[in-house]
């Protein structure tokens, strides 16, 4: 009885999605590198993420805010068609992102999106 119960609960948990930072990006070829760097920053800090391509043309900030709302961790990253990145938090006003940067800052933005989740001060970004 008991073991069956346990098993059910575990299966339940598996079905639910793991909490992640959500990265929403414009799927242009040039963004491949940017996405890799973002992911590297997040991974180095040990924070899981999932990346979602987005069809409609939006600014990095709009993408980031939508991503933050979709994230169980309340943290989202947006990457526009030019590779500019923005980090947002679901509790912040939409027009006030946590951080924004040029394509060259992608790695650091990944680190800092993760730090926003972990709750440690941001890394100074070298671009």
């Amino acid at each position: 009885m008991l073991s069956g119960d346990l098993h059910d609960r575990r299966a339940d948990r598996e079905k639910r999605t793991r909490p992640t930072v959500v990265v929403r990006y414009r799927p242009v070829p040039a963004n491949r590198r940017c996405l890799r760097e973002l992911g590297a920053g997040l991974e180095e800090e040990g924070v899981p993420f999932r990346a979602e391509p987005v069809g409609e043309d939006s600014t990095a900030r709009e993408l980031a805010y939508g991503a933050a709302l979709a994230s169980d961790l309340d943290v989202g990253v947006g990457v526009d068609a030019a590779g500019n990145t923005c980090v947002h938090h679901a509790k912040l006003p939409p027009e006030v992102p946590a951080l924004a940067g040029p394509p060259s800052a992608a790695r650091g933005m990944g680190h800092n999106a993760a730090r926003l989740v972990v709750g440690i001060p941001f890394k100074t970004i070298d671009q």
Binding site: E44, K91, L92, A98, L99, G119, F122
Partner: protein
């Protein structure tokens, strides 16, 4: 009715008190004002500051400058204080034997031991003996992981890695066999190759166990007792780190060198003693007690302390046109401190906490160019200017306007450069003393102990409480209470320790915890003000017996501090003394005592028809 303004020129602050004196000798206090002192106290440079406070005090009192009858200024004798820091230990790593820093994100966990080999040399390495891989600047993490995996597959056991970039987890996550990886090693190119080395990374939330233990290092490198003794400072330097690297080079050495800090000569009226600065504050202060009253002091030329004494003497001699040889150091305060200093030979910008002694010294003359200052003021404002009584006497008179205070009483005036004390007997006799070391020394201890190199921020940390930003919308204060905001905090405040100043919250850009900053702040205040309060009271107390003093009123800018008066009250309670912060005229708090005392003194003298000593 006579309109007067009492003006107290301090080292940091010039204060004024406007009052009207009736024919019957009744004083009506009208208003107070304060401004920064311009120039060195007791010199003609002070005129600008005095003119400003007089104008402000009259404006606040609603009186026209034309109605002003007399300005009363204190006998402001120049007091010049100097500060010096003498570092007495230094950590030097020769031949780079260790890396002991705390990167935010080291990778893997455990201990790896082997010979250091650069990533480029891995493919040429013969299988067999274990290696530690050194990954230089600019190498991509996928390549590094790929090369390490390839080497392992060929039978070259890679047991640990030392990496330049912030890549430790990225590399560790891609390895088929997990190893400890230390990253953010800025000077990775200086890691000696072909040498036995050990890399250790602790699990998150833990600290390393092997490389911070002398016998752990001895086990790893099979050291004999003599070699173990030599390596002990390395282990000590690594205690508390989450990750570390030790490379064993044949001549490698780390030393805890003691820097010759020179000596201090303390000359009393009957005795003369020499004390080594590196003997520490306690020894220096004990020696000073032994020769008191201090007639003069000298530091060894070529040391920081020697330089500081020379500076102080030169400034005073310039001000008073007194020959340098005649300027006497009247007090010295030594405080033990520590300064974070970059480890010579470190590979990752490591800091070591070095011991240091901070010294404050003070010179004082009775020959201030006061007469010239008074004449200049008279010319500037066109009113009578009188030089009032001795500062300490005036401070006592001012303190007596605090509700609940009566004679006999002692005052402690906690300023910027000096701590002054005075006691008055029931019959009105006043005994006073001026000691080196006050608010400015506290600020500089905070600055150096936290490694801020920002005196402005240190001053704020001294004056205001701390908090930690816990989210974009709330902070946790030092006492554990939370405060919430409608507007999000700026990103640079995120997860930082903040100082809550009257002009807003300022992030403190260090990795120190709130608890650590608080502890440094409080310890600095204790070491300066509690020590000086006891020292000062001891010197003015009847027959040196502090217990004879019943009441202490704490005054001056540093009495506005949110914890110093409490620390003093607690320390003197032991001697049965009641101590509290003054409240001059029941309205001014601990400020304005001397300015108020000048008015009270002048009035009393006038009523007694003792002609005051008028000028011009």
């Amino acid at each position: 009715m006579t309109l007067v303004v009492g003006v107290d020129i301090g080292n940091s602050t010039t204060e004024a008190c406007a009052a009207e004196i009736g024919e019957d000798g009744l004083i009506t206090y009208l208003a107070g004002a304060l401004a920064r002192t311009t120039g060195v106290k007791g010199t003609t440079e002070n005129v600008a500051g005095v003119v400003e406070v007089v104008r402000d005090a009259l404006a606040a009192a609603g009186r026209a400058p034309a109605d002003l009858d007399t300005i009363l200024i204190n006998e402001a004798t120049p007091v010049i204080s100097g500060l010096a820091m003498e570092t007495i230990t230094e950590t030097i790593i020769t031949e780079s034997t260790m890396i002991g820093h705390n990167p935010d994100t080291p990778g893997g966990a455990g201990l790896g031991v082997g010979t250091t080999v650069s990533l480029g040399e891995l493919p040429g390495r013969a299988p067999g003996s274990p290696v530690i891989c050194v990954v230089g600047a600019g190498v991509d993490y996928e390549r590094a992981a790929g090369d390490i995996n390839a080497a392992t597959a060929r039978g070259v056991p890679v047991t640990g890695a030392i990496v330049h970039g912030d890549d430790a987890n990225l590399i560790a996550n891609r390895l088929r066999r997990p190893i400890p990886v230390v990253d953010e090693v800025t000077l990775v190119e200086k890691v000696p190759l072909g040498m036995p080395a050990a890399v250790e990374v602790a699990e998150p939330g833990r600290t390393i166990r092997t490389l911070s233990n002398s016998y752990g290092i001895a086990t790893v490198f099979q050291l004999d007792p003599e070699q173990t003794r030599m390596i002990a400072p390395v282990a000590r330097a690594l205690v508390g780190n989450r990750s570390a690297v030790v490379v064993r080079t044949p001549t490698g050495d780390i030393t805890d060198r003691r820097i010759p800090a020179g000596s201090l000569t303390l000359i009393g009226e009957t005795a003369r003693r020499v004390v080594k600065v590196d003997a520490g504050a306690e020894e220096i202060m004990a020696t000073l007690r032994g020769v008191r009253p201090l007639a003069d002091a000298a530091g060894e030329p070529g040391t920081h302390v020697g330089g500081m004494f020379a500076r102080v003497r030169d400034t005073m001699s310039e001000l008073t046109a007194m020959p340098v040889g005649e300027v006497r150091i009247k007090d010295v305060l030594a405080v033990d401190t520590f300064v974070p200093q970059r480890v010579t030979g470190g590979l990752a910008g490591e800091f070591a906490l070095e011991n240091a002694v901070a010294l404050a010294a003070m010179v004082r003359t009775s020959r201030g160019p006061m007469e010239r200052l008074a004449a200049r003021l008279r010319a500037e404002l066109g009113v009578r200017v009188l030089i009032g009584g001795v500062e300490a006497d005036m401070a006592v008179l001012g303190a007596l306007t605090t509700p609940g205070v009566g004679r006999p009483v002692a005052i402690l005036d906690l300023g910027g450069g000096s701590t002054d004390a005075a006691v008055t007997t029931a019959r009105g006799q006043v005994e006073s003393v001026h000691l080196a070391g006050a608010g400015d020394l506290v600020t500089s201890l905070i600055d150096s102990e936290l490694g801020l190199e920002n005196p402005g921020l240190a001053e704020e940390i001294k004056k205001f409480p701390l908090a930690k930003a816990e989210s974009f919308f709330h902070i946790r204060m030092e006492d554990g209470t939370a405060r919430f905001f409608d507007e999000p905090l700026p990103p640079d405040a995120f997860a930082r320790v903040l100082v809550l100043t009257d002009t807003g919250m300022h992030p403190i850009p260090t990795r120190h915890t709130m608890e650590k900053i608080r502890q440094v702040r409080r310890a600095a205040k204790e070491r300066v003000f509690v020590v000086n309060a006891l020292r000062a009271l001891e010197q003015v107390a009847p027959r040196g017996n502090v217990r004879q003093i019943g009441f202490v009123v704490v005054l001056g800018g540093s009495a506005l501090d949110f914890e110093i008066p409490d620390m003093i009250a607690q320390a003197v309670a032991e001697f049965g003394i009641v101590s509290g912060t003054g409240n001059i005229r029941g309205t001014e708090g601990p400020r304005n005592a001397v300015a108020t005392g000048l008015v009270a003194h002048y009035t009393a003298a006038r009523t007694a028809e003792e002609p005051a000593h008028a000028l011009g």
